[in-house]
Amino acid sequence: MAEEEDISHPSIDPTFYDLIVVGTGLPESIIAAASSAAGKSVLHLDSNSFYGSHFSSLPLDDFASFLQSQRNVSRTESPSSIAGAVAVSGDCISVDLKLRRLYSDIEICSHASPEVLAPSRKFSLDLSGPRVLFCADSTVDLMLKSGASHHIEFKSVDASFVYSGDGRLSSVPDSRASIFKDRSLGLTEKNQLMRFFKLVQEHIGSAASFGDEKEKNGRISEEDLESPFVEFLKKQRLPQKIKSYRSHCPYLFVNQVSNLIILYAIAMADYDQDNLEDCKNLLKTKDGIESLALYHSSVGRFPNALGALIYPIYGQGEIPQAFCRCAAVKGALYVLRMPVTALLIDKGSRHYKGVRLASGQDLFSHQLIVDPSFIVPSPSVLPLPDLLQESSESSSLREVKVKVARGVCITRHSIKPDLSNLLVVFPPRSLYSEQVTSIRALQLDSNLAVCPSGLFVLYLSALCDDTNQGKKLLHAAMDALFTVSISENPENSAAPVQSEGIEGEVKPSLLWSAMYIQELATDSSEAINSAPMPDGNLNYMNLLDATVKMFHNMYPEEGFFVETMASENIEDDGGLSD
């Protein structure tokens, strides 16, 4: 070992790997772990001093400074500015990498004296919140399969609610038994939900034993499965327009609580399913039933989980770290605080060859996966006309349409005094007539070790087309939940007027809040894979699918976590109690 090694720029050996991964977000970390498990040599780098990239959970101060550091990243719009400086040295062409701005319109407001928020490290705030896992979702299965589950513990989300207008919250039943017990639902609604749950169960049951003619009775027809879910719900003769409810919320077209629950709090639809003009993603019956099935199988999977949803203690950032640890145990080399500055491309073949580090060291690999904050140089904009011409259509120019508006709120009181960890969904048009997307809110308390005791953290997110729309969505939800309207300058706001919030309770006041718009689209070219950004969903399932696909594209001959140490535990994952 060198006597005087520069601690900030240590030299890395070996210099050649099967795979170099830049960025420790969840998709990158899963790929690193899967590739290491498949016997590949992996170097995993991150320019930050912490794990998780866009999926990390950070202390309060670090969370704010991470977002603020994004202000310095220029917005690159014109394609000519995308490619960095190109230099030729030896048999390599180096192309400087540029960063894109992934977070914009960052607003951070503190309404509390600094000492309330003083133990910054007692906070563990998710950059990609709100996010939960369904007990039966594929992420949980993958954690069990890979052994990552040994490094994470979870707690239940106590309950979920759908906001059905005018301060009314209806609880989302997690089983037929709980439908009966629910006092917020009317008799008609109870009957509908019961019937519907039964229908879905029969369908799932028959699907499991397909081919058997007798079992076809319980099945939903192919035609129905391809039809819009909302039409299917209507076909179940769920009575139209309950008058009393209509008056609660004049904006809603689907004005029936049971439908709201199914569409937005179980199937987690983002867009108004009853307004085809605004609806960018009309849910098919097939997908709706799948969500219900997932929900159904999540309830009761782990004996001491209260409902369908769980959340990791210390925050979502534990999950990428667990996969990195799995990768390290299998031999992956980890280097934090090490930025990558340029891509190295072979002069002859014009294929990807390696990366140049901030230390100046060049490292080489067969494959590369990069964090979504890098602009992958598109061959067409390089001043080398024949470079990788086969992928000449520029991926960097992909239209960026949908974004995610995210918010983090810190309060001293729960939005629902008798509960600590809960999910609230505001369906489209439940708060105002132009509310085009669902807003999801997840409140967590200190027993999840995400904040000091006595405080609560609430995450908000909504899909949006632009910043104004996104901010309006989050402000509407914040106004419905809290007293300080952060649309005003906090210095000007007088003593908060106590106003009635959810279910007539006194609204908690905001101590601190952050709001930002996150980009969704990422680049990908044929030689270089760009990992996905956190999506607008509540769980990781779509991201996981994309990750598995990326792995198989890279290593078509390899299995995704085939040999695992924990394989003997997969079958009985029933959360053995003591």
Binding site: P10, S149, V329, M338, D573, L576
Partner: protein, 207 residues
């Protein structure tokens, strides 16, 4: 669950690459030593049952999995540790000088509620090398540092010869047990999706 928590003690071993962290663990748990050095691969943690005052405890000893090489251990690694073992090589001055960095890193990352009294144990390893002739850190110097950091227990060990390893780990276990667990986080509603996997895991690790 609360009792399960007390039965399981998490110990993490820190120190520069190559000081013998994995060898110490292996000598203690498996009574084996390999002369061949490889940066740690394949072990997540090792477990060993220890008896203390008529009660059985499971010592879960976490290795750095090589992530210490570029100071890239994540905060998750440090969480919930009941005792932190700091290891240096008595023949390498830099590994001793770095003890302070490792200790501080631990206190920042793990942020224990009572940092003054958090149990550390320091091990000066590889005292067997060259019959002690290549030694550059004296016992006196090491002990002085330990005293200055709140009387950290100090052991001189040889993982290769098994010297003092058992005694050191007994002290580690005793100190881990004395550490008060971190408050309300481990309430009975914690869901372990691996289903008691932590216990089962030990059988999978000994291969």
């Amino acid at each position: 669950m609360a009792s399960r928590r007390r039965m399981l003690l998490k110990v993490i071993i820190l120190g520069d690459s190559g000081v013998g962290k994995t060898s110490l663990m292996n000598q203690y748990v498996n009574r084996k030593f390999s002369n061949q050095y490889k940066a740690t691969i394949g072990a997540d943690f090792l477990t060993k049952e220890v008896q203390f005052e008529d009660r059985l405890f499971t010592l879960q000893i976490w290795d750095t999995a090589g992530q210490e090489r570029f100071q890239s251990l994540g905060v998750a690694f440090y969480r919930g540790a009941d005792c932190c073992v700091l290891v240096y090589d008595v023949n390498v001055m830099k590994s001793f000088d770095n003890l302070n960095n490792w200790r501080e890193e631990f206190l920042i990352q793990a942020s224990p509620s009572d940092p003054e009294n958090f149990p550390f144990v320091v091990l000066g390893n590889k005292i067997d090398v060259d019959g002690g002739n290549s030694r550059v850190v004296s016992e006196k110097k090491a002990k002085a540092w330990c005293t200055s950091k709140g009387n950290i227990p100090y052991f001189e060990t040889s993982a290769k010869e098994g010297f003092n390893v058992e005694a050191a780990f007994q002290c580690i276990a005793k100190n881990a047990l004395k550490n008060e667990p971190e408050e309300e986080i481990y309430l009975p509603d914690t869901i372990d999706v691996a289903g008691g996997g932590r216990q089962q895991r030990s059988s999978g690790c000994e291969c």
